[in-house]
């Protein structure tokens, strides 16, 4: 509890300590990554269904606000609930057949569906095809959510993250959360204990899809642009998986921890070495991921839980 309060205070204080627009933007990127990874975590972490195609929900969420703007000149925010609705339908369509598959088959199926959607969108003129869609370059009013500075985005994103984490926390404590953990531990055993396995998995995917869709919408509204690769690219999915896995999948704060490490790391390596153009950014980035996977396969959250008590003891002694 103490930790949670400290974390909240730190996030509230950040924009005032680092008021420079660039640092604020890193904060916004970090919050966005934490939102999408936390959303993925509900089905990928707690239920152990490793989806590598979550970009399909992110992309739907990202496209809708700019579609309604492009075709009907509506404020982009109108597209957010539409995106959520479509993502929910998509989750049911994808979940029903693929939940029969286990382990890698499920991962592969999600990759394939996401890739199929990316390819279709790339040829679909209504959705801007390969060129993509733009948002309003200059906001027509506050309702366009096109702000000059980064500060409003920071607090909007922070608010959404708090909601996602609060819902996840609630899920954790209820019977539903218990079902999810039981499924992760072993589907057959869970079924014999009377857990409605398929329905539980489907609900988890739908919840996860809705939040991921919101993350996509936030991305598109803030960036003011979306194209097939930044919406439905496999890297979008992989990033969610990596951030959650790095911090600790299936834990409340794991994805946030992952984002706190990975986003500053990405930005810092690109800022320091990107201009040199040698690819050193990615060598470091890839290397660090490999090292963490090799030595801390359970993620940093697990390492923290192992180390923290020792530190505490030493401190007390």
């Amino acid at each position: 509890m103490k930790g949670t309060i400290a974390l909240c205070l730190a996030f509230l204080a950040y924009p005032f300590v680092f008021s420079n627009a660039f640092y604020l933007d890193i904060g916004v990127a970090l919050l966005l990554a934490a939102i999408s990874a936390s959303a993925w975590n509900i089905v990928g972490g707690y239920a152990g269904q490793v989806s590598v195609g979550h970009c399909m929900f992110f992309g739907v969420g990202a496209y809708l606000p700019l579609l309604v703007y492009q075709h009907w000149q509506l404020p982009p925010i109108v597209g957010v609930p539409v995106g959520i609705a479509i993502s929910l339908v998509l989750a049911v369509l994808v979940g029903l057949p693929t939940f029969r598959l286990s382990g890698h088959y499920f991962s592969m199926a999600t990759i394939a569906v996401a890739e199929l959607i990316r390819l279709v969108v790339s040829t679909w003129d209504f959705a801007g095809a390969a060129i993509g869609l733009q948002g309003p370059a200059v906001g027509r009013g506050w309702y366009d959510l096109t702000f000059r500075g980064e500060l409003p985005y920071y607090f909007i994103f922070l608010g959404v993250l708090v909601i996602v984490l609060a819902v996840t926390w609630q899920v954790q404590r209820t019977r539903f959360g218990y079902y999810l953990r039981a499924i992760k531990a072993g589907e057959r055993a869970a079924r014999s204990l009377g857990v409605p396995v398929r329905r539980t998995k489907l609900y988890a995917l739908m919840l996860s899809a809705a939040f991921t869709s919101v993350a996509g919408s936030l991305y598109a509204i803030k960036t003011g642009f979306i194209d097939p690769d930044s919406g439905f690219g496999i890297l979008v999915s992989v990033q969610m998986v990596i951030i959650a896995a790095l911090g600790g999948a299936g834990t409340l704060y794991g994805p946030l921890v992952g984002a706190l490490i990975l986003i500053p790391l990405q930005t810092a390596t690109n800022t320091w070495f990107g201009g040199g153009g040698t690819g050193l950014t990615y060598i470091l980035y890839g290397g660090i991921i490999v090292i963490i996977a090799r030595f801390e396969p359970g993620g940093l959250h697990e390492m923290w839980q192992r180390i923290a008590p020792k530190l505490w003891k030493r401190h007390a002694a």
Binding site: V113, A245, G286, V290
Partner: protein, 285 residues
């Protein structure tokens, strides 16, 4: 005639898909392990071919062999230093490790060779055969046939030799194999070596007719996933058929519907297959 021409082209490409996918299916089926860096192995095979041609000269036999050896060593090294330690961890750690590895390999190649597109200097396999009115480029014919032969050889090795059956024994039941006196670690290292080597040769064969840069692995990696799932995890004959079928589907749909639809058709069929026969063509349920 035109149709036949399209079919031949598709099958020749499909044979190469089959070769590099057979490596992926081997470790996937054997260790239940997803390797996101498989496409990078193909890419490295291409650069090994280039280095051999530029420094030592020699034809496809030389650089194909060199690529196989170099990648075999790399595969074993990767297994020993990284995979061995994550293989029994959570599935997420596997994804993390091989995705990190893919970035590491791709951008190390980028650092060494730069981002520029390269292609092999013209080799002896330049011409085109005219077989009953069907034009078959020699390079692609040689590559396709070699790939098909090697894929069959891989299958025969696994089913017909002692080492091969030990490998499959580890895949079937690790603990039982250990009781039989087989050392699973060695067998798995061998599997990684073979997997990387098959990707390496496939890369060297592709390099004859296809220009590339360090980012080429992404395309091949994704294609290998599709082929392997299509054919069924762990089934080398499955990968063989799936590779040929996908090569054919791509060629036919590119011809009839246009090239941007060829991957849509492949992924569409793939999703449909997962729906109706999730274990793949030749996979065990």
């Amino acid at each position: 005639m035109l149709l036949l021409q399209v079919i031949v082209g598709g099958l020749l490409l499909g044979a190469i898909y089959a070769l590099f996918s057979s490596g992926l299916t081997l470790i996937w089926g054997m260790m239940n392990f997803i390797n996101f860096a498989h496409g990078e192995f193909v890419m490295l095979g291409m650069y090994v071919a280039l280095l051999v041609v530029v420094w030592l000269g020699g034809g496809p036999a030389t650089f194909g062999f060199a690529a196989a050896v170099a990648l075999f060593v790399l595969g074993v090294l990767v297994y020993g230093s990284l995979i061995r330690h994550v293989t029994r961890g959570p599935m997420l750690a596997q994804i993390l490790s091989t995705f990190g590895l893919a970035l590491l390999l791709r951008y190390t190649a980028f650092w060494i060779f730069s981002a520029n597109i390269v292609s092999l200097p013209q080799t002896s396999l330049g011409g085109t055969l005219n077989i009953l009115g069907i034009l078959v480029p020699v390079a692609q014919l040689v590559a396709g046939i070699t790939a098909a032969v090697l894929t069959v050889a891989m299958h025969l090795f696994l089913t017909g030799t002692t080492i091969g059956s030990k490998l499959l024994a580890v895949a079937e039941d690790r603990n039982a194999a250990m009781l039989m006196g087989i050392r699973p670690d060695r067998m798995q290292a061998l599997a990684w070596g073979l997997a990387a080597a098959s990707a390496g040769i496939a890369g060297a064969l592709m390099a004859i007719s296809y220009p590339w840069s360090p980012s080429v692995g992404e395309t091949f990696g994704l294609m290998a996933f599709v082929v392997v799932t299509f054919g069924g995890f762990g089934s080398v004959p499955g990968a063989m058929y799936a590779g040929l079928i996908i090569g054919l589907i791509q060629a036919l749909s590119a011809f009839y519907f246009g090239p941007i639809y060829k991957d849509i058709v492949v992924y569409g069929l793939f999703v449909a297959l997962l729906w109706f026969r999730p274990q793949g063509l030749l996979g065990k349920a």
